[in-house]
Amino acid sequence: MNSFTYTQADAVDTAVDERASDLTAKFIAGGTNLIDLMKENVERPTRLIDITRLPMATISETLEGGLRLGALVTNADTAYDERIIQRYPLLSQTILAGASPQLRNMATDGGNLMQRTRCYYFYDLATPCNKREPGSGCSALNGFNRIHAILGTRTQGSDGQLAEPNCIATHPSDMCVALAALEAVVRVTGKNGERSIPFAEFHKLPGDTPHIDNTLESDEIITAIDLPAKGFPDNFMYLKLRDRASYAFALVSVAAALELENGNITDARIALGGVAHKPWRKPEAEALLVGKPATKENFQAAAEALLAGAQGYGHNTFKIELAKRAIVRALGQAAKLEPTA
């Protein structure tokens, strides 16, 4: 861990100014990921700007009938909030599938979006990593890639051919998978004022810039996450598959949400975790379900569409089939065709 200075920001504007004046500075809230990365010398901020005093630690109603999660609300407070449990049970269930109670007590909702990958090679300075050191290479590609991505890894070269991936890291968050399914909106503030980023556009694929995880500008800070009114409180499931029953990142996870009328699907959302550099959604796959009955066959068709183009890299190739089965199961459970235990 390097030597750094530490300041406390007392207003969003000053926090933004501080960061804009020193791009080697980092915001710190719960610190559950940043501190680890600093101990490993992966992150070496020269300054930490503590934002925990900023006035964004509450959950409030939005004019559109949704809820606004202040960026500093803890994951635990979000998961156990009565309004979240009643209106967005998928989100609550998803948060509780991640980390540990101790971590959820510290970790904030804004920070959850900013988590970095748990790729072993990203964490270990002894190995090349394009995300940590652009241009050095991707060690996972031919390495131990059990936890790595199967979707969105390949980019099209200038000749139109699919090029070798620059990075096959995954985004580790559970919460973000539910936020993607719920079509949350990320509210940010920067030097140029406020703007809103649709969740699907917040995280990015690695492409040629795997060292950049998201579309946040360097002077911007997340202030809140808005949940739209539609929360799918009746038919939902977060199914997380991992190498042990708790305290492990997802190999594959599925946030499934359905709206049903007389057994027919009127709206469907499916987001995947553990399979790509960002929570994975495909509107075409969801559209396949709309207007159709909730059956295993229809779920299977959606699963195939979601996994189209998936590419395994050896240790993680099993994820392609596992993801399909998980989607069918999660949708079946959301539709209450199958038991949830």
Binding site: S3, Y120, S139, F144, R244, A245, Y247, A248, A326, E338
Partner: protein, 746 residues
Amino acid sequence: MTAIGKPISRVDGNEKVTGKAKYAAEFNVPDLTYGYVVSSAIAKGKITNIDASDALSLDGVLKVFTYKNRPKLAWFDISYKDQDAPPGSPFRPLQDETIKYSGQPIALVVAETFEVARYAASLVRIEYKEDTHETDLEANLHRAREPKSGIASLLKPPPPKPRGDFETAYQDASAKTNGRYVHAAEHHNPMELFASTVVYETDSKKKPKLTIYDKTQGVTNSILYVSQVFNIPFKNLRVVSPYMGGGFGAGLRPQYQLFMATMAALELKRSVRVTLTRQQMFTFGHRPATVQNVALGALPDGTMNALYHDAYGETSQFEDYTEVVVNWGGMLYPPENVTMDYKLVPLDVYSPLDMRAPGGVTGMAALEVAMDELAYELGMDPLELRLKNYSDLDNNEKRPYSSKELRECFRQGAERFGWSKRSFEPRSMKKDHNLIGWGMATGIWDSNMLGARAEAALLVNGKLWVSSATAEIGTGTYTIMTQIAADTLGMPIEDVLFKLGDTDFPIAPISGGSWTAATVGSAVQAVCEEVGKSLLKLAKKMPGSPFKSAKWEDIEFVDKHLRLKKDPSAAVSLMTLVNLNGGKAVRETSGVFADVMKQKNFTRSAHAAAFVEVMVDEELGTVKVTRAVSAIAGGRILNPKTARSQILGGMVWGISKALHEESALDHTFGRFMNHSLAEYHVSVNADIHDLDVIFVEEHDDVVNKLGVKGLGEIGIVGMPAAVANAIFHATGKRVRDLPITLDKLL
């Protein structure tokens, strides 16, 4: 006997839960400095340049030690050999520019604070010339060779010579099975990081005098190592280790932080602490990756007639670490045609190191799966096959067991589990998405006793003070030693204080191999008897003493009194007796060894039967161990509460080994990549469900006078195979590679 056999809570429990119990990195002294280790990024090659100038320029950095500026050290290999050193040439930190494995310690930065040392370590720039490394066991099996033998062979005998004619018998067998079993390396990962706090002082001649707080499973091992490597007389050294936050074998050898902290303290003439990081906990010994082949043959009635078991274990290029992997089948089962073989494959890794039931859980995880396969080839219940081939002899040595209540383990375990209700066919039990399976396996582990010494003193205030330089590795040693001492002299445990983990106390061996209860327990019993004999002498001198003609056999110690067995009214309090000792405590020191003459005609082992229920989600491949019963024949149980905890820990680890644990080695870098507790998966609470432990009554006066066998390893040995067999019963899939992760069941 009033304390032994009772479920007494840990006498050190209060200290532990209140934080009063201190661990190696928690002993603070004024002006302490902090060392931080720099580790090699490559697996093999040479250091061509080390640039520490940026590190040294930081305020508070005292020195950066490398192979270039280290002090002169002991010359011969023998000086670096610790009590658990395998044959070979022990690794010497900072010896020269050679890199022998990834993560090798190559520099130590010492600074006034831990934070500065850590930061400075990140600024040390190392350049290497890389050589090609080999870390892939399976790709290097052609290089396998016989292990070198050494002192380790005494406790880890090589496989016996082949007997009968395996090949012909196997050909003739009517039921046979033949499989290859693989598991990757595993790391111990105790919660407490390895740490040494070396307190520097000088004696009257200005020579260094060190007090070393070390994380170790044997203070005697640490003091020996430091004394030899740094040429310091024992009188100027003291090693203290009252507690350790888990060892599991990792602390059986001095780890390199001890070397580093001692070296720095001597050079800087300052007190130094070196604590390893979690990542560095993956840079020394580990359970070796192993490839095994097992072939079994049986006659139509289930009688086994052929057994083949070989194993290829990984070792380092500098030491031949061995373990007993293949011998167990010959001990447990009676076929007349047996071939067993064990070879090593040297790789560019650190030497493996004993880890809970070393070799035993490795070999039995393969053999007991093969037994299950044989049962299915025969169409025979797996438990019935074990009973059919039950042997009261150790067929390797052709001698009986000193005791073997395994049959009773099978009976009681099966009854508790409900084994008789099992349907034979795989995939025959189902609930919703889940297939349910029941599996079982046998466990076995050596019951060894080594030599140890202890001191006991009945103080003038009537309290009994007992000590031995053994270790509390979390097993309950403080508690059971207190119980043994209390019962030997008829005292309540509240009046007994047992101390350990200090080289000022009488010598005891490293604490491992399940031998501490037997070894140190016997020493404590013996020395308390010596005190008792001294008390009898004092009693005889009392005016009008009723003990004048009493012999040792005629008396007993009950309720803080010495009394005649045949006339309990003839009693004198211990307090009265000690006050006859001229104002001094009644103090004795003595040692014990195993009774070799009594033991030589017997094999001494603990046994276990493990029964496991799993639920497997067939579509998703997830496995849940819903229920497990372990029935243990482990001799006399000194304390059913700490004993049960020992077995529970072993069962949990067995589940963890079967389903989760694997140190992922990237052969491109020759480096373990999942080197954190987030990514090296051990079972967590959510993975563990209903666990049940049965202690089967077993009497054994051959193992030692106390009749104890030790319980440290026996709980884990049968569990992985029982889990794997239950998964087969659930799914019909035979997985021979551990861990059984969900992708293997899709």
